[in-house]
């Protein structure tokens, strides 16, 4: 199992979209809502599909994304 949860800090996000276009699972998307800075921030549309590849986090210029990996507890 390779699964994870992208945690996006809405207020840090500037809405650049770099995470969106680089997510292999296409589960990130811009909101039509703006955050306090006036940016259309990004959210994850389906966390269950996340494979914890880290592409979004790597790409994010504002370090707005952290990834939690889901591992089987023994």
């Amino acid at each position: 199992m390779n699964r994870g949860i992208p945690i996006i800090d809405k207020e840090r996000c500037k809405g650049c979209g770099l995470c969106i276009v680089n997510c292999p699972k296409d589960i990130l998307a811009k909101t039509s809502d703006v955050n306090d800075q006036g940016a259309y921030y990004t959210v994850c549309t389906d966390e269950s599909l996340c494979i914890a590849c880290g592409a979004c986090a790597l790409m994010c210029p504002d370090a707005a994304i952290e990834i939690n990996k889901l591992v089987e507890a023994v």
Partner: protein, 260 residues
């Protein structure tokens, strides 16, 4: 079977907990983050001095949790030389843009490299003057439109974009020279490795290291960030090949291994 979540990617501790002033999708942010990660990994945060250039990254000292110093436009390598000679135990990073490093600072760039000054230069090549609103840079591509080349860079009039790595590679002293990019996750991973090497070599006192990073300036290129990343790949990389030009420490280590 129960499931546990463990943090796989966290904001690095060397990165300050503040918003940057950068535009959405700016490459500087990515590169700052990578430096912070490497500082965490090498446990160098408390021994590092970052030199801010004059350019969009002029406030870098607000974003990294290390001691920070400002250089005049183009003079960062000389400032780095001064403080490294005064504090040889510190890790000194000269972070510079293309206008800073290759236009006004050409002399300082070449001579710090030529002395083999024990510093690391992180060179963010975004093919434009970001901070001042998008003028022609020494690295602007032929045909690229900028505020001061409204008809596109005319090579017959102002020549071709300068390739910093190739130029510095003609000098004897540098220990490490590599060009990378941040246009996609794969490129970013390589960039992080390059920064890691550069700082590690400096930590080991092996001399001058230089990492050129192709980066996006969506604002002054007048495109959206994803397009900007594509343009790096489609237009910049062909002129600026991503390549390791020199890795003397690695060669030396390999030689030693062979010998033993």
């Amino acid at each position: 079977m129960s499931v546990k979540t463990i943090p796989m990617y966290k904001r690095p501790e060397s990165l300050s907990d503040v918003r940057t002033h950068y535009c959405a999708g700016c490459g500087h942010g990515i590169i700052h983050k990578l430096i912070a990660e490497v500082l965490d990994e090498l446990e160098l945060r408390e021994k590092t001095i970052v030199i801010a250039p004059v350019g969009c990254s002029v406030l870098i000292y607000n974003y990294l949790e290390v001691d920070g110093l400002e250089a005049a436009h183009g003079r960062a390598p000389a400032v780095a030389t001064g403080i490294k000679r005064a504090r040889p135990e510190m890790l000194v990073i000269s972070y510079q843009g293309d206008g800073d490093l290759l236009a006004i600072g050409t002399g300082e760039t070449v001579h710090a490299a030529n002395r083999g000054e024990d510093i690391s230069v992180i060179f963010v090549n975004n093919a434009i003057y970001g901070m001042t609103g998008g003028q022609l840079a020494p690295t602007t591509l032929v045909g690229q439109k900028t505020l001061t080349s409204p008809a596109g860079r005319n090579s017959a009039d102002v020549g071709f974009p300068i390739r910093a790595c190739e130029m510095l590679d003609t000098l004897e002293a540098p220990a490490y020279i590599e060009r990378t990019s941040v246009h996609n996750p794969g490129a970013i991973r390589k960039t992080k490795k390059a920064i890691f090497k550069a700082l590690k070599y400096q930590k080991e006192g092996r001399g001058y290291s230089f990492v050129e990073i192709l980066s996006m300036c969506p604002t002054n290129w007048g495109v959206q960030p994803p397009e900007a990343a594509d343009w790096v790949k489609s237009d910049m990389v062909p002129w600026y090949p991503l390549k390791k030009f020199r890795d003397r420490p690695a060669d030396e280590d390999a030689d030693k291994e062979k010998a033993s």
